[in-house]
Amino acid sequence: MTLLIGSIQLGLLYAIMALGIYITFRILNLPDLTVDGSFSLGMACAAVATISGHPLLALFIAILAGALAGLATGLLHTRLNIHPILAGILVMTGLYTVNLGLMGGKANLSVVGNDTAFSSIESMFLTRGEMGITLLALVICLTIIVILAMFFKTRLGLAIRATGDNEDMVRSSSINANLTKCIALAMGNACVALSGALICQYQNFSDVGSGVGMVIIGLASVIIGETIFGRRSVTIGLLAAAFGSILYRIILAFALKIDMFPPYALKLISALIVIIALSGPSIKAALQQNKFRREVNSHLSDK
């Protein structure tokens, strides 16, 4: 039970990162690798601000820092015409130094003993805090989903969706496609950094390496969600991504619990989940083709 609740809590917090990935990968249709860096950036910002006694401000600083990181990638891509994947890797690499610098040159920073968003909610509830933490994570996650779902129905949101769909059409509707790309990248990375900040406060430490592989974990969540809910509207897509994140954590927790895999297998499993999910359609097509071939052959041998 504790394992399940813990997974749901983690899933809800990581869900915000999955939402960020959904914005860049699915809505903007642009593989953004800044994420690995901006997740650690959110953690580092949150750790420093939390230690200085501002647990709530920490979350907003992380959002802002993440948005700036996304904006940097967007500007490299649109202004300097650097390939989006390379632009993301460049910013991610640069952020490694920034993150170490923020944490005073140390690879990890503990915030144990400081007030966090979670410890303050714990003190508000009289009973043991688990319920409070789950509720807080749920409220934050749902709030972000509602804000994003509403945003993608506004004119700007529509323009961002169209940019991922058909950039030429956006330009001919007199909208600056470079601007919409930068805004979407900033939003996506703001979500990722917020998720990093919350995880930092949740587990009471920040580590410069914890962003590694986040793109894949986020993508895995998005794909799991899509497998269950299908690819429909943006609102359902956002909900599906969050749900996928929770499910991913539960699967992972139980896989590790039954000692099927050692804990360090986490990232390999994530990569495998994504590979299986992405190869689904082509495997399905190959199976169908095989079935068809067998049918044709058996007809031929009948005659």
């Binding site: 004119r155 058909n166 001919s172």
Partner: protein, 263 residues
Amino acid sequence: MLDLIKVSKTFFPGTANEKKALNSINLHLDPGDFVTIIGSNGAGKSSLFNAIAGVFFIDSGAIMLEHRNITTLPDYKRAYDIGRLMQDPMKGTAPSMTIEENLALAFGRKAHKSFFALNKRDAAHFRELLARLDLGLEDRMKTRVGNLSGGQRQAVTLLMCTISRPKLLLLDEHTAALDPATAEKILKITMDIVKESQITTMMITHDIKAALALGNRTIMMDEGEIILDIKGEQRSNMTIDELLAYYYKERKKQLTDDRMLLA
């Protein structure tokens, strides 16, 4: 209303592939003009449109729209005043968004101020416009554009191009990828919209008969130059044979290519 002054553009200058796409083009359009443009492949027709729409910047010369110099204006800013329809029906719409959402995006600045992009007043307006197409699309406003046929998509794109009342409409063989019956229908819708909203229009076509029949002026292009510009009586008296003969006399070659419709 549109003035091109000595507009030139060369692709791949200084290489073996150097191509003079536009060679010192001068052109003046009056408000309400409907100009049809003909010419063989590589004559510079699409390059002319690309230059006007701002897909690329020209090497020399100037482009004026209603006495405003737009030569260095980026394409998305020109799009406020210039609507463009391409040959490929897939190019003008966002396939994973609904008809309604596509129209709302194109309506842009002219739309009612509202928090969400879709609102009832605009929806009623869209419905009315779609009903006029007579394709039954008014009852499918929540359908994704990707699920429509090529002709339906081109009709939606046509609405999107004209919904915010641009000053100039560029039609780049916009019916060429459609089957004859659909093409005729789209062309009719185009003429109706242009006539009703009095938008100055330029239309590239490979159908010489249509080029002479539609609009009030015809331009023939070859090798980046305008070699014929007729209107009024001269145009109404012009036959297809005379046009072809003129081209042969001017250029010492036949005006034909595989897609040209001569009758």
